[in-house]
């Protein structure tokens, strides 16, 4: 499902963010990507989610070669995945309903289906009662649940989360991780970049550790 083969990413400097990364992830897995700040987690995340291209090597995600994605092919690739950010990336002056419905609107889904699906996914994240609220009226945990709902609404095969609990207190972080586990249990591959090693230990999932741009260990 995800294959990294001999992937290098070098930024001007030169700064070698990723060095000879080789990795295979199968459908339905729950993976934690861990490592200290500056280890290359975000670069890895960007390549995985099609927000950047490798300097050399091949990154294959859901059958698409990310290394060769053209600008016009990017939207179609992103429609297949769900992405969650640490800073939520919600549009402040749109309601929760409008924010969550965006991926389906972009795909040209019918209004009736959008309404049904948004209410369904909001129910999954326990936010049905907040559908008319604006992001600023929600707590951090609720905002992240809205972002998760948006990432899930179009039934992606792969859910990628970059530090999804980075801005949340431990209780809310646990709540979000439980939600991601539920999503994974339904068959979606979940890839989470985090530096919260305590939580990773507790969850006992597959872990890819990266240090100085090199995969150190796969646990």
């Amino acid at each position: 499902m995800i294959t990294f083969s001999h992937v290098y990413k070098t930024y001007p400097g030169p700064n070698h963010a990723l060095v000879d990364i080789n990795l295979n992830i199968n459908r339905g897995e729950f993976i934690f990507l861990t490592g200290p700040s500056g280890a290359g987690k975000t670069t890895f995340f960007k390549l995985l989610s099609g927000f950047d291209k490798p300097t050399s090597g091949q990154v294959e995600v859901l059958g698409d070669n990310v290394s060769k994605l053209t600008s016009s092919a990017i939207p179609n690739f992103r429609k297949k995945i769900g992405v969650i950010y640490q800073d939520f990336k919600l549009i402040d002056d749109k309601t929760v309903f409008e924010n969550v419905s965006l991926p389906l609107k972009v795909q040209g889904a019918k209004d009736k289906y959008i309404t049904e699906r948004v209410m369904d996914v909001l129910d999954q994240v326990s936010l049905t009662h907040k559908s008319k609220a604006h992001p600023m009226q929600l707590s951090g945990g609720e905002q992240q649940r809205v972002a998760i709902a948006r990432a899930l609404i179009h039934h992606p095969s792969l859910l990628i989360a970059d530090e999804p609990t980075g801005n949340l207190d431990p209780a809310l972080a646990e709540e979000i991780m439980t939600l991601l586990e539920k999503v994974n249990a339904q068959g979606t591959t979940v890839f989470v970049a985090t530096h919260d090693l305590e939580m990773v230990k507790r969850k006992n999932k597959k872990q890819v550790e990266i240090k100085k741009g090199i995969i150190n260990e796969i646990l």
Binding site: P75, K89, V106
Partner: protein, 308 residues
Amino acid sequence: MKYFKLFIEQLKYSWVKKFSLQVTTLLVLMGSFLAVSLTLLFLTNFNTTVNSFGEKFEVSVYLTDQNIEENKSKISKIINDSGLFKDVSFVHKDQALQNFKLKMKKNMPSFVLEEKSINPLPSSYALKIKKDFNSKAGFTKISEFADKLMGEEGVDEVAYGQVWASKYTSFLKTYKLLSVGIVLFLILSIILIIGNSIKSSISQRRKEIEVLELVGASRSYIRMPFIMEGAFMGFLGAGLSILVTYLAYSWIVNVAESNMGVLLNGMSLHFLSITLCVAICFLGIVVGSVGAAVCINRMNSGWAATNE
């Protein structure tokens, strides 16, 4: 149809959620186009006035006293064949004297009563030039025609205010160049002003563009509503500027007719032609959409969501 629906949604969203930004953008657009509309209104009326001077322009052909009737038909043919004049009238020297006496009736009654006075006035043609010749090229033709006529037998003099005509045509040339310059300068200025205004409007929605890229919106999905909104705002700004110009024009006409009737001396003011109004609205659409397209092109690279 898909993009039109998106455009309507975006328009509703912009006016409801970003009302003050939209009003500011619209005012800037309207102000810019108002400068163009008012300048064009001034130039249109100034042009009419300037051309009316030319239309009043006359050429006088004075004949010698010998063989008047014989020469008259020959000269008349030359004048008509030239095609330069819209009105040709012949005044015989006897008629010229009668006219002169009528004019001098009050000032020189004794002269009017003289039955057999010496007649120093010549027979003449008064020629009014066609509108087509109200230009430097036209006056050159008249000048050539006058030189040709001077060589004809029976013509004593051809007068057409040579010095005045020369200055008038030079003025016309400068005025036309200046008008084109002013309009071009204004158009370039509004392209810059509108471009910056739309850029600021779109910049404030950068986060939205990022999120749309993030959820897989295509380039046209992101760009078309912004471009259509730019075109709509340009059209609205241009249309409103024409409306304000019309109100200003109506007020000026009202004031001029009630307070300056004598000064106007039968001269009428004109509003912008329909063609010019349509052209201004079209300019609004073009400038609005091009401004939005250039601006959105810089922001919607497909990778905006990662360029933080």
